[in-house]
Amino acid sequence: MNLTQTAAELRATVIGMSHAKKCPHLGSALSCLDILTALYGSVLRIDPQQPDDPNRDRFILSKGHAAPALYATLHRFGFFPDEVLGRFNEDGAELAEQPSPGCVPGMEAATGSLGHGLPIGLGLALAAKIQARGYRVFVCLSDGECNEGSVWEAAMAAPALHGAWGRGLDNLCAIVDYNKLQATGRSNDILNLPDLAAKWRAFGWNTVEVDGHDLDQLVKELSATRPGRLSDQAKPRAIIAHTVKGKGVPFMEDDNNWHYRIPKAEEVEQAKRLLGVAK
């Protein structure tokens, strides 16, 4: 599979969904689409035909406002049919602007209120240790989400939790979609976010920084989440993914108006041309 092409097509799908269903947070969805493409296209061990397999890898999109990106990705990788995606954000539909629990196969958690995904992911990762299962848990957070105290409660717990199975959750990977913008301004200015990588490192995480739009780098670093090495200090993994809000469409990139703005029909067409997606 050509992941670059897949990511471009998913971007076009998400932009179309935003326009057709008047759904905001487009910039946030485009920001994390390469992360999702790398995960579902290459990294995650999930069979869409067995979405409840207890040994599956888990992914939680903690930045739930970017849910259209996850919906489009799950749909693309065969978790649910066209008509479900087609009903997105309509009255009575399965898929809301931000997901409800179990709304479609493959949706591990309802998110949308920030700061919930990492604690839940931590619980799933701890359960794997208790039950001696080999699955991994990936949680994607936004940089603005790192304003939430609960993120740091979980960040402090993940390297410290210990039981008969050992110490530290090396089966947990947090990915921060670090696009430097949150709802109303620059995330590095609103609160003292920098040095974000140093913060995760100081909290005890095995932390790397990547270009969050470089699919090869993403696949390599996400795949490096390998639990089970015998160690008294097995660390959870943090990937600080430097991204651009609105990535892929030059007139949306790093422009925070696209946190809430809905694209017009001609902007959708223009975006598709710029993405090189014909349909």
Binding site: G123, Q131, L161
Partner: protein, 321 residues
């Protein structure tokens, strides 16, 4: 009640290897036996209650049966959104236990009182709210919560050292209260005691009977769901139903009973009047023991007896069925 809870959770964990106990840095030495016997199923998650609830949700999603334990105010107010979303919205069978419910930790000041917790939690869809009144009822409530598989349960505990009132552990069914004494269909007063005030209610019932007032006393261990059968019987046969709780009269157990009655009294013969006794809509700014706190909030046997007697005197007799 605290030790009864510890023992009940231990016994459950011994039978069921899905049970995982989470403590938010509380219960020093209390869980030593649990830790020793189940070292991969006890986690001190630190003074980080939000993470405790989210973590519990994740454990439950993977098929485990987490129990979250800390002081009632921290395990409710502090984490109400985590309980709402992570547990209730996701239908996760997690037991949230709060020790020091109501005015149990009166001396610690209002930061450690929980007189609004029942109202907050019973408002959440899918949440069950249990309020044991003595140690054997704690054991019974833990057993009842184990049976629920599609959502969370809040168990509001007192503190340690309350004497047992029941000789044996009562068997509880969902939405069922316990008739403590005087199940007389012609009783003037039905006294509904909720949770930690049960010993006070017993004494008040005794005083009322000494005055010649027939009283039926129930321990209302389930605030959500309520016992509709018991309420129907009480409101149809008594002159006065009295709710008693260490909780604000706003939103708590008495409020739940009032809601139930209001919704039905036009279509059912629910003639009895309702008197709701609880704590005021205020913080307590003077320190004191639980006995002191009960005294200044009117939750003593003498004060209850007086309020009930006055109310009965002012309550016109209602036609009985």
């Amino acid at each position: 009640m605290r030790n009864a809870f510890r023992d009940a959770v231990y016994a459950w964990a011994k039978r069921d290897d899905r049970v995982v106990l989470l403590s938010a840095d509380i219960g020093n030495r209390m869980f030593d036996a649990f830790k020793a016997d189940f070292p991969d199923r006890f986690y001190n998650v630190g003074v980080a209650e939000q993470n405790m609830i989210g973590l519990a949700a994740g454990l439950a999603m993977a098929g485990l049966r987490p129990v979250c334990y800390t002081i009632a105010n921290f395990t409710t107010y502090r984490v109400i959104e985590q309980i709402r979303i992570d547990l209730c919205y996701h239908h996760q069978p997690v037991i949230v236990a709060g020790v020091g419910g109501g005015l149990s930790y009166a001396t610690l000041g209002s930061t450690h009182h929980s007189c609004e917790d029942l109202g907050m939690l019973r408002a959440l869809p899918g949440m069950d709210v249990l309020t044991p009144g003595d140690p054997p009822e704690v054991t019974a409530c833990v057993a009842l919560a184990q049976q629920k598989s599609d959502g969370p349960t809040y168990i509001r505990l007192g503190k340690k050292g309350e004497p047992p009132i029941h000789q044996d552990v009562p068997t509880l069914s969902p939405a069922t209260w316990i008739t403590m004494s005087g199940s007389d269909p012609s009783a003037d007063v039905e006294l509904f005691s909720c949770g930690t005030v049960l010993p006070v209610a017993i004494e008040a019932a005794k005083q009322l009977r000494e005055q010649g007032t027939a009283v039926t006393l129930r321990s209302c261990v389930s605030v959500k769901p309520l016992d509709a059968s018991a309420m129907r019987q009480a409101f149809q046969s008594a002159r006065l139903v009295v709710t008693l709780e260490e909780h604000s009269t706003l939103t708590g157990f008495g409020s739940a009973v009032a809601e139930w009655k209001t919704d039905r009294e036009r279509s059912e013969p629910l003639a009895a009047h309702l008197l709701r006794l609880g704590t005021p809509d205020a913080f307590l700014h003077r320190t004191g023991s639980q006995a002191y706190a009960r005294q200044i909030t009117g939750l003593t046997p003498d004060a209850i007896t007086q309020r009930v007697t006055e109310t009965l005197a002012a309550t016109p007799a209602t036609p009985r069925r």
